[in-house]
């Protein structure tokens, strides 16, 4: 698509600015097809909006300066103008055009993001559960579970199945793609894919209470072989997750990184029932 090329060309100085200004560029440094789609849309909409903003600013500045009250125009009495049909139709039409120009790619991207970015490839499935205040990742095909970090293979679509054991959170890895809510009693899915190896910061984006700021995790993308090796390592070196430990994880609080070679299939993760002990609000 040539819009994409134009967008990339115009956007490069933006991106450069952010890379120069700091380390993590987040949304503006996409590392996967989903994030790229969204990045293109963002830059495109910024350009589109600038097309409106710049002329409005210029006209505004001009009018306010030109028609200011001065000693010379003391006797000037402004005309009483009721309106102007033609002009008013004109500036009803302009926003309609701008909005249409944005609506079309928006709808297209909305549908695109519902499905896997690489439909031909079998996706890796990861079940993500947010809890008070930790992220739990389960790999049903591999049978392993991690807490507060995840590994994914590069160039393979990953299907995240999202739910929550406690408050509603939002699963967000800015460089890989936009966020989606995690909700107790609901299962949502979202596809992400990394196109480059690297470690990407992820976080809970929706407020969940006292230790919300600690709900961060890292997603490491590496080659399929390295990923397989990592799975194998977890399988062989890490302990099994017992029901007791799984219950322990449901107690509100923070934990560090954890990994388990297996997890109990039938354990229902929830913190929303009577008798779950709450942490005191203050130390």
């Amino acid at each position: 698509m040539n819009i994409k090329i134009v967008v990339k060309y115009i956007a490069s100085p933006f991106a450069l600015l952010f890379i120069l200004s700091g380390c993590s560029a987040g949304v503006l440094d996409p590392k996967g097809p989903v994030a790229s789609t969204q990045y293109d849309l963002i830059i495109y909409s910024i350009i589109l909006m600038s097309v409106v903003l710049v002329p409005v600013f210029i006209v505004f500045g001009y009018v306010v300066y030109k028609y200011r009250e001065r000693p010379e125009n003391k006797d000037y009495e402004p005309p009483e103008i009721e309106g102007n049909k033609k002009l008013e139709v004109l500036w009803t039409v302009i926003p309609i055009i701008i909005v249409t120009l944005l609506a079309v790619p928006t709808v297209k991207a909305t549908y695109d993001l519902e499905t896997s970015p690489s439909p031909k490839q079998e996706p890796l499935v990861i079940k993500v559960t947010s809890a008070q205040w930790k992220w739990i990742f389960q790999y049903p095909e591999q049978g392993i579970q991690t807490v507060n970090y995840a590994y994914i293979p590069v160039d393979v679509p990953v299907k995240f199945i999202l739910t929550s054991a406690g408050a509603m959170n939002s699963f967000w890895v800015p460089q890989l793609g936009g966020q989606s809510y995690t909700m107790a009693g609901m299962k949502d899915q979202m596809f992400l894919e990394a196109s480059e190896e690297g470690v990407y910061r992820g976080k809970g984006a929706n407020f969940t209470g006292r230790r919300f700021a600690d709900m961060k995790f890292k997603v490491t993308a590496e080659s399929q072989q390295d990923f397989n090796a990592w799975v194998k390592k977890i399988k062989t070196t890490k302990p099994e997750l017992t029901i007791e430990q799984a219950k322990q994880l449901m107690i509100p609080g923070t934990v560090g990184k954890m990994a388990f070679s297996s997890y109990p299939e039938n354990f229902k993760m929830t913190q929303l029932k009577e008798g779950v002990q709450n942490e005191p609000k203050r130390d």
């Binding site: 952010f18 700091g22 380390c23 993590s24 987040g26 949304v27 503006l28 994030a35 969204q38 990045y39 909409s45 909006m49 409106v52 903003l53 409005v56 009018v63 306010v64 028609y67 200011r68 009250e69 009495e77 402004p78 009483e80 103008i81 009721e82 309106g83 102007n84 008013e88 500036w91 926003p95 909005v99 944005l102 609506a103 790619p105 928006t106 709808v107 991207a109 909305t110 549908y111 695109d112 993001l113 519902e114 008070q132 406690g166 408050a167 967000w172 936009g178 809510y181 107790a184 009693g185 609901m186 949502d188 407020f207 209470g209 006292r210 919300f212 700021a213 913190q271 929303l272 709450n278």
Partner: protein, 659 residues
Amino acid sequence: MNLSEIKDFLIGEFFVTGDPTIYAAQVMIALTTIGIIFTLTYLKKWKWLWREWLTTVDHKKIGIMYIIVAMLMLFRGGADALMIRTQLALPNMDFLEAQTYNEVFTTHGTIMLLFMAMPFLIGLINVAMPLQIGARDVAFPYLNALSFWLFFSGAMLFNLSFIIGGSPDAGWVNYPPLAGGNLSPGPEINYYLIGLQIAGIGTLTTGINFIATILKMRAPGMTLMRMPIFTWSSLITSIIILFAFPVLTIALALLTIDRLFGSHFFTVMGEGLPEMYVNLFWLWGHPEVYILILPAFGIFSEVISTFARKRLFGYKAMVYSMIIISLLSFVVWVHHFFTMGSEPAANSFFSISTMAIAIPTGVKIFNWLLTLYKGKIKFTTAHLWALGFMPNFVIGGATGVMLASAPADYQYHNSYFLISHFHYVLISGTVFSIFAGLHYWWPKMFGHKLNERLGKWAFWLFVVGFNVTFVPMYIVGLMGMTRRVYTYEEGLGWTTLNFIETLGAYAMGIAFAIIVYNIYYSARYGERDKTGDPWDGRTLEWSIPSPAPEYNFAHVPKVKGLDAFWIMKKENKTKKKEKEPYKPIHMPDDSGQPFMMSLFFFISGFGFVWEWMWMGILGLVGVGVIMILRTFDKDEGYHISSREIKRRERAAREDRIDE
């Protein structure tokens, strides 16, 4: 219960303890309260307070009370904002702990929207709208007083949580399950629910009152299409209130019932749906945004047209665009949670409906520009606020259109990009309009102008500070900084931007202090408005003396077109009017009932907050008793004699007649 149990309860649960800032604030609040009581007693002003203010049904006095309370709430919300910005100025700051931070941003949002912005606008509507349509008062003066006192007791109940029981801490949206009984037991969230409920009833009754007033109380000759644009905006806003607020009532009530009586509306246990709350909340919440912005548009239209010395360009288009905005406001609520995993068809629909709001809004912006075009623009403080609104609001609006694109929103949502967007819209829209309106109508309320020099200082400091605060927020949001985190780590590249934001916030704080000082300064040294028409105004409120007499219009004005007073001035009718004989004017009786009823609502609310059912029910019984008393009320009112009117009009217009 023995003594030590009572002590444990008081220190452990009832009074908020733990933080030195809280102790300091508690001491301050206690001292201020004692100070107020002492001063009132010393000056023997209790009776005056009761007679002139607590029992008044005069729309102007009620408006002023709304504005005073809203200013206090602006102070509280602003102090919260500065605490937030101080905590975030540097990474790993140790100023507020997580829990306190959570409370502070929750109260910041709730207070600014519901106890500051909306009441401030309602206050301005109360002062100006009946005067603009040539009415003697609103349709239901008694109900108007009740609305105010309900808002007041709701606001006070909410604020009481700061010293008794603990502040709400689940964000201003208060989503379950976080705000449900499992994860947030205790009185904190109850304060939010019941405080908002009481204030919300007050808002609903205000809406009804304003609609009836505008539909039935207009001066002869004032057709709908001759109404001042601010009155139009008040009418449309009130209609939105009428249809949106009952939904909030239900959302709050159901969550309250969940928490107090163990029902399962929003609990996952029992197959309730937390998502239902989110939908109900935003079904009210998005129209609420337009309740905050449409009166602002009205104020800007009046101010721009007055100080450009020109009729508002495209008056009809302005009216229709507001009506369209109000209709659209009810079909966009899902854009607050695109990330909830709705169907792509749903997200696409709500994306497009949201973007569509840009169309009528764009029309308004261009019409304001054309109103200025060929005008004679005076840079008064009020006008500066209105002019400052335009470029800033356009930035907020443009980012709003960007946010409306659902797939892109997955990246903006919950980030500082979103925070910056709605602050751009709400500050440059609502807050600027509040200050514009305050400077514009101040002479009509108090009979003197606010100082222009101080006003302009405050304006420039505020506008610069505002941009310094919120431009970096857009960037830091795109870098991945999420809202509601109490701290962040070093090395993310966020530090400089956050520090700059904090500087801007303090500049806005100083600007607010200047405005408050200006109020004091102008009360003492301000220029007295002897003409009643200090700005060469166009609408009827400027045809009567400043401050407006309690009966408003000695003669009911006859309206011949849009900008009725401008036409009168052109025809030079203002002097001739003096000769018409005065007739006695019927006035409504003052009443202490609204105040008492709200006091009982407060008591009842406090009982339910603590789940002391006896107290809650007792309060409601009190409310019922006053309602019964009211049904027996005949509301006879009294008359001001024509001689008295003549005397007062003479006194007020002395200077003008001398000229």
